[in-house]
């Protein structure tokens, strides 16, 4: 059918004229599919459809015009348009200097810690609008991040690791040394995380012969400082604050600065000219070792399989947790009903969790439960009720019987592992 609007100006005129004898009939006819708000029904009584009152006016806001001038052909007022992205686009063509950041990218995405450090980098880069710096993010290996621009990255330097994964500090330090040689950033900022930036940054500082500031949680402009910046860092196992000039290399704590929220940046890719040198590694990574997920504290666990009211087959659930290698969590109801111990309860009334992946099995998502999982990256809901709040919160929701879906998941994983074993045996 054609999309072209057909119009009958005479009828539209009648529709606008409430005093016209044919007004109601014409209005009803014109509106046909588009729901008139008022007409005379076969019983002779006025019929009203209050949902159809009004139309979207020229400002994009619902308008009601009792004069009858309502444009019958227009759709009744719907929800307002989504607010536009108002963030300012920033492009720094010729930076006066670079601030290098090496984000941790746990799970292949910027962590909130990474974003805070990028926020700090912006603070340094943007201080003098006359002489802007650019934030250079150096990213190792494969990643899934798509929002470097929103996080404040002007230049992105992807570094392919020689190996796809694992413990590659020695290689990475050599790579960062190449960055130092070719691009000579004015500052190096890394997240002071327990592995990742904390380690890499210390290695880098030792290699570059720079004395870094570690555990930095605040950077302020200071005209008396040689660098123009003063930083405050934790010392003495977190019991002291050390205030000092900001050095070239700084390892910063989470919440050292506000993450970028009001601008978007170019994230222009850059490459090094020289190939990376070969490094003789003296540390070999033999891979991760399976640990008992039950030994991992709920607050720290990376992967949680959480059970609620909708779980009926508890044996099946525990088996699934074991096969998945997930730490067990529970809703308050599951604990109240005695199926799970109190120390497994997730939520504002139990434990706040920080899992990268949180699978909620048969949990409808009481508000205090949702509060407790707000820092989880990916939420998967398995639930019978499509309308429940957990499904609304989830990144992936599967509607159906929890027991059957878990059993299918277990079978799938077992099959996958068998195949992998076969492949290994064959190789």
């Amino acid at each position: 059918m054609s999309d072209i609007v057909r119009r009958d100006p005479r009828k539209e005129w009648i529709a606008r004229n409430r005093l016209h004898p044919e007004h109601s009939e014409v209005l009803a006819e014109l509106c046909g599919g588009a729901s008139p708000s008022e007409w005379i029904g076969p019983s002779g009584l006025t019929r009203r459809n209050p949902h159809a009152v009004g139309f979207t006016g020229p400002n994009g806001i619902k308008r009601i015009d009792r004069s009858g001038a309502q444009q019958a052909a227009t759709q009744p007022g719907g929800r307002q348009a989504q607010p536009k992205d108002t963030r300012r686009r920033v492009e720094i063509e010729t930076p006066h200097f670079l601030v290098a950041v090496v984000p941790d990218l746990p799970g292949g995405r910027l962590s909130s810690h990474d974003r805070d450090v990028l926020g700090l980098a912006r603070q340094l880069a943007d201080a003098d609008p006359e002489r802007p710096g650019a934030v250079l993010a150096i990213v190792f290996g494969a990643h899934k991040e798509t929002t470097f621009d929103e996080a404040g990255v002007d230049r992105l330097l992807p570094m392919e690791d020689a190996e796809s994964s694992g413990y590659l500090s020695e290689l990475r330090i050599a790579a960062l040394q190449s960055v130092e040689r070719e691009l000579a950033p004015r500052y190096w900022l890394l997240p002071d995380s327990s592995l990742g930036g904390g380690e890499l940054g210390r290695r880098l500082a030792a290699r570059l012969g720079e004395r870094p500031a570690t555990q930095v949680w605040q950077v302020e402009a200071d005209v008396d400082s040689d660098t123009g910046w003063r930083c405050t860092a934790r010392g003495a196992a977190g019991t002291k604050d050390i205030t000092r000039d900001l050095p070239r290399v700084a390892l910063a704590l989470a919440e050292c600065a506000e993450p970028v929220s009001e601008t978007r940046h170019a994230t222009q890719a850059v490459r090094l000219n020289q190939a990376l040198p070969d490094v003789l590694g003296r540390i070999e990574d033999l891979g991760e070792v399976a640990v008992d997920p039950a030994s991992v504290s709920l607050a720290e666990a990376e992967f949680i399989l959480s059970a609620g009211n909708g779980v009926k087959d508890w044996e099946g659930y525990h088996h699934a947790a074991q096969v998945l290698g997930a730490t067990e969590g529970a809703s308050r109801v599951a604990v109240d009903d005695g199926y799970m111990p109190r120390d497994r309860q997730v939520g504002a009334t139990g434990t706040w969790v920080s899992a990268r992946v949180y699978v909620a099995v048969g949990i409808s998502g009481a508000i205090q439960h949702l509060q407790g999982i707000q820092s989880c990256d990916k939420v998967v809901a398995i639930n019978l009720n499509e309308g429940c709040d957990m499904v609304k919160r989830a990144d992936l929701a599967v509607i159906g019987d929890a027991g059957e879906i878990l059993a299918a998941l277990v079978a799938h994983i077992e099959h996958y592992r068998e195949q992998q074993q076969e492949n290994r045996d064959a190789a």
Binding site: T46, R48, R332
Partner: protein, 690 residues
Amino acid sequence: MAFEALFQPIQIGNQTIRNRVVSTAHAEVYATDGGMTTERYVKYYEEKAKGGCGLCICGGSSVVSIDSPQAWWSSVNLSTDRIIPHFQNLADAVHKHGGKIMIQITHMGRRSRWDGFDWSTLLSPSGIREPVHRSTCKTIEEEDIWRIVGDFAQAARRAKEGGLDGVELSAVHQHLIDQFWSPRVNKRTDEWGGSFENRMRFGMEVLKAVRAEVGDDFVVGMRITGDEFHPDGLTHDDMKQIAAYYDATGMVDFFGVVGSGCDTHNTLANVIPNMAYPPEPFLHLAAGIKEVVSVPVIHAQNIKDPNQAQRILEGGYVDLVGMTRAHIADPHFIAKIKMDQVDQIKQCVGANYCIDRQYQGLDVLCIQNAATSREYMGVPHIVEKSEGPKRKVVVVGGGPGGMEAARVSAERGHDVTLFEAAEQLGGQITLASKAPQRDQIAGITRWYQLELARLGVDQRLGTRADEATIADLRPDIVILATGGQPFLSQVPEWGYAESREESLVVSTWDILSGAVEPGKNVLIYDTICEFAGVSAADYLADKGAKVEIVTDDIKPGAAVGGTTFPTYYRSLYEKEVIMTSDLALHKVYREGDSLVAVLENEYTGAQEERVVDQIVVENGVRPDESLYYALKGQSRNKGQIDIEALYAIQPQPCLSESGEGFLLFRLGDCTAPRNTHAAIYDALRLCKDF
């Protein structure tokens, strides 16, 4: 012991508070006899102190001047020395148990009513009307200002002479001090308005006068907002500046921080967040104030659980947590944590029955704890074991009345069997919890489930009791709490029929229980205007239905309380639910595949129609009396409750009379439809002497 952070003592001014948990100032509506803190008031706070609460700040909006009317809300009257001996009783009662007690003092300015009692002329900086109380006022004059400053100082003196541990100046909830602060209501151009210093002046003069009167050895705190959330009001940054300004005087011993202003219905609902809100929604505002002040910061608002309180205190966001409704629901909150009985804490569910009564000038009561504030009558928080004969008690119906009857009877040491026809306990609470944003109400059932299991009550779920099953148990006492059914048959023209296929209308219960699939284009006719109608509307709209809710009353949800209807309206308007008033459902008929509702305007008699695919009627509950009349004749007391004894909290005389057969009582909606509190209160006062 777990929850260490809660049990760290803290110094506020010259007082050491034994733990970090505060019952913050709220209007109790218990100060009788011209605003005196008489027995009911004292016992209410004594119970909290007995239960271990660290600090009670009593007397929300206690007045310092006679032109800040006190009688509407029975708030405490500090404008006369007559209060001092009453305070002495109050202070002794709390101190006896190791607690501390302070009082909030205020002048409410324009935030009150003028149309009664002394017919006061209300005051505010620029004479601007207050919307929530619909109150008009005069522009305050310099003479009024100095009189009120002096009244604050005298009120503080009375609190000190009465032996209380401190006062909290209310500069929140749009009382007079923050009326001067807020550019929304202070439009003055003299030295009391305009610049920051000028707007601060009244509060500063009050603070100086109070401090001069009471000296350094008395706690003076301030309760402030963290952000008014009004476009023309005080922002969070403004409030940081204000807090730092007063803090710098060194005259303030603590700050209490409340998120949101409250001079509109919608913002008022924020102040006492109901069950629709996330936990501690405004903590970030209190934490922001803590950044800029040097004295302890107290924050309340939706902190109800010990784990939550522990997490907040451990995080260092604030120094003390206000758990006010938590203590209304269970004044023994702290004691139960100490005794490792966390699962026995009756946790506040955010139904806001307490505060919604208060805004109507009714005494604060808890929806689920009938003993709260009735301590003076002898209604017990802890039901003692009976020394009399052990009885066989059969309770029929697992709604709130039945659950409470079973709990209290079991606490008395009797052998209790509870029948519930549904597969789970809760009765209408279960239905209520199915609506969006209302799931927390099931917390009432949760507590009973845990308690009934702990007490070893024999629960027969999914079992409908009849004469025979009851007789088999050879009961001494039978309690019927069988509730009722939706009353759809009242108007034959609605076309209700027992068979779902034939019936033209369905009930809100059918919708909320999921027994009937939601329609696509639904008309809800709600003549009751309580929770069920708006809950069903929210539920249907949430499932994607187009919904119009029609009432013959003044507005849908008209009987839902002041801090609760706004969260419904936020949700309903967001989902484009149409609310129509003043139309009665006259008739329903079928037309093809559609249903037609004929509505009649209450005031003109004019009729109009709606064409929809589903019509839901909310017309309240009809008691289910069948079992009662089947048993009545066999019972010793003919089913009668001695209401004189019941109202006087005395044992039923028939309990001590001997005779053949069982005693029969009925509770809750199977007698007459009332509410959750009514059912629980009747159950408690009836069964506590079994």
